[in-house]
């Protein structure tokens, strides 16, 4: 058996699958190695909520028995992974990152875990998150039961939220892939800050059964991994109709890179102001170089404007309305005061005071927004924007402070995160360079159910760059 070294911890899914099939190591060896690494280094980044070494080993031995009989179940068979601690895993604590739920135990598995288990993926641990996925609006990265998510590239900086542990664990090679969630930015932000590839699927494509609800009409689950191709493989295995999720779109997803359209046929909408004015100056060379790579591949760039709507206000109003209803028992019981972040507590309390008319107005506006946004995809195939405008903030830096300075006149795509989430659009995050030794990333946003187009562009970009292969200092 070959030794399991550092390269294995940063290997892609096809590489790990090939090694398992070739007998270079067993699934049990792999599960043991990743479990030990997760337990050893996870706390270093406050990324680990709950290690599951025994369960992992048990499942990995079943995989080995299958592999011995040549019962192959696909590229995820025998691959360790982690899930954000908002997914139910029967018999084990599911804390939602929050003290009031520290002792919470469900007697069933989230659909996503069931699906991954069915194809032989091996759950090695649950990963930390911002308390209650940060819906109340938090001021500091310390808003978590496990402390502030620390960035593997620089532990004085934040790993992003709310899927903090999912992004940090993949970046540090503690799991080959992880599942996180996004209501508004919780996949895009940590993936951008930690320099990992991640996919926010179209609303309804991945079942949320067994996941903490923050906003029924906004919540999505998606993968963090090392490559766009890995994200496609994972999405294929977790997507699909689920009668237990009322928001399920009833659609499957097949990752089909072989049918990707030629890059020269694709039109990318972008706003030059994003890259010239919005992003922090230190990040501009990385973004300029990344755009140059995409242009060389033949993709056409088209200057595009987003329809003018109050996206952030609408998203915040909808989130507050739904979150207030979901967490009313927590708020009225007074247990909300046990949360770590005071603005988050206040935000939850205030959410109960949101007038129904405001919620309905936001939901009606959302209808208009969706129609206008879909129209954009008649002229471009995808939208391109910075994942975040700057590098990860310092862990002691308040997150609700203003950006300062005079905002650029051209709004560009600065509302792309609330806009994309309101319309339920998929997004792919691609690491595209570094600034001040911290990762910088692009985000591609597509029409509903256009994940294969996003992944094709991501695959093309990653075939010409090696940013996704970079490893943080050990």
């Amino acid at each position: 058996m070959a030794s399991i070294g550092t390269d294995t911890f940063f290997a892609t899914l096809p590489q790990l699958n090939a090694a398992l099939k070739a007998g270079e190591f067993s699934a049990a060896d792999l599960a043991r190695a990743f479990s030990e690494r997760l337990q050893q280094l996870g706390p270093r980044y406050n990324a680990l909520a709950l290690p599951l070494p025994q369960e992992a080993l048990r499942q990995a031995r079943l995989v080995d028995a299958d592999l011995k009989r040549k019962r192959y179940r696909g590229l995820l068979q025998g691959i360790p992974y982690g899930v954000k601690d908002l997914l139910a895993f029967a018999g084990q604590p599911t804390t939602w990152g929050a003290k009031p739920y520290a002792g919470q135990v469900f007697d069933y598995n989230a659909t996503v875990i069931e699906l991954l288990s069915a194809v032989g993926a091996v759950l090695t641990g649950k990963l930390s998150m911002v308390e209650l996925a940060g819906g109340g609006g938090y001021r500091l990265p310390s808003a978590s039961l496990t402390g502030p998510g620390l960035n593997p590239w620089d532990r004085t900086r934040w790993s992003g939220g709310s899927s903090s542990g999912s992004a940090a664990a993949v970046a540090a090679g503690l799991v080959p892939f992880a599942i996180g969630s996004e209501t508004s930015g919780s996949i895009v932000t940590p993936a951008s800050f930690c320099g990992v590839t991640a996919l926010r699927p179209t609303y309804g494509l991945v079942s949320r059964y067994g996941a903490m609800a923050l906003s029924w009409t906004l919540d999505k689950l998606g993968p963090f991994a090392h490559t766009a191709e890995d994200c496609g493989v994972i999405l294929q295995n977790i997507a699909g109709k689920d009668s237990k999720d009322p928001g399920s779109a009833g659609k499957s997803f097949y990752y089909t890179p072989q049918y990707a359209r030629p890059m020269k046929d694709l039109r990318v909408g972008y706003a030059p102001a994003d890259f010239a004015e919005w992003v922090e100056p230190a990040t501009r060379p990385a973004f300029d170089a990344a755009i140059a790579v995409l242009k060389v591949s033949g993709i056409q760039f088209v200057e595009t404007k987003l329809p003018d709507f109050p996206y952030s206000a609408a998203l915040s109003t909808i989130l507050n309305g739904e979150m207030g209803s979901i967490f009313e028992p927590l708020i009225t019981s007074g247990k909300v005061d046990e949360l770590a972040d005071k603005p988050q507590i206040a935000g939850l309390k205030a959410s109960l005071e949101l007038p129904a008319k405001d919620y309905l107005r936001a939901m009606r506006l959302r209808r208009l927004m969706q129609a206008e946004i879909i129209r954009i995809f008649g002229t471009v195939d995808v939208l391109l924007a910075p994942g975040r405008a700057g590098i990860a903030s310092r862990i002691d830096q308040p997150l609700d402070r203003g950006a300062g300075g005079t905002p650029p006149k051209d709004p560009g795509f600065r509302s792309i995160i609330p806009m994309g989430n309101l319309a339920g659009l998929p997004a792919l995050v691609l690491p595209c360079g570094f600034a001040e030794n911290m990762p910088v990333a692009l985000q591609l946003v597509g029409a509903p159910f256009s994940e294969n187009t996003l992944l094709a562009i991501g695959r093309e970009f990653q075939s010409h760059t090696d940013w996704h292969k970079r490893r943080p200092p050990s």
């Binding site: 009409t217 915040s316 005071k342 309390k349 005071e353 949101l354 007038p355 939901m363």
Partner: protein, 64 residues
């Protein structure tokens, strides 16, 4: 010391009165709560700026 019911009642009333007289520690979240309420109102004001046709229904689904 023997504690009669009268003494106990007096002590309780005094303690309650004392507690009421003492300045309450400023709830740390008062300003946060005001800020959260202000955000809700600011959102509502921002949304009010966009006219919505009467026929536009809310963007949620109900499947019977």
């Amino acid at each position: 010391m023997k504690l009669t019911r009268r003494k106990l009642a007096t002590a309780l009333v005094s303690a309650t009165a004392l507690a009421a007289q003492q300045p309450q520690p400023a709830a740390a979240s008062d300003s946060d709560l005001k800020a959260a309420r202000d955000r809700l109102q600011a959102n509502a004001a921002a949304l009010a700026g966009t006219p919505i046709p009467m026929a536009t229904e809310p963007a949620f689904q109900f499947k019977a």
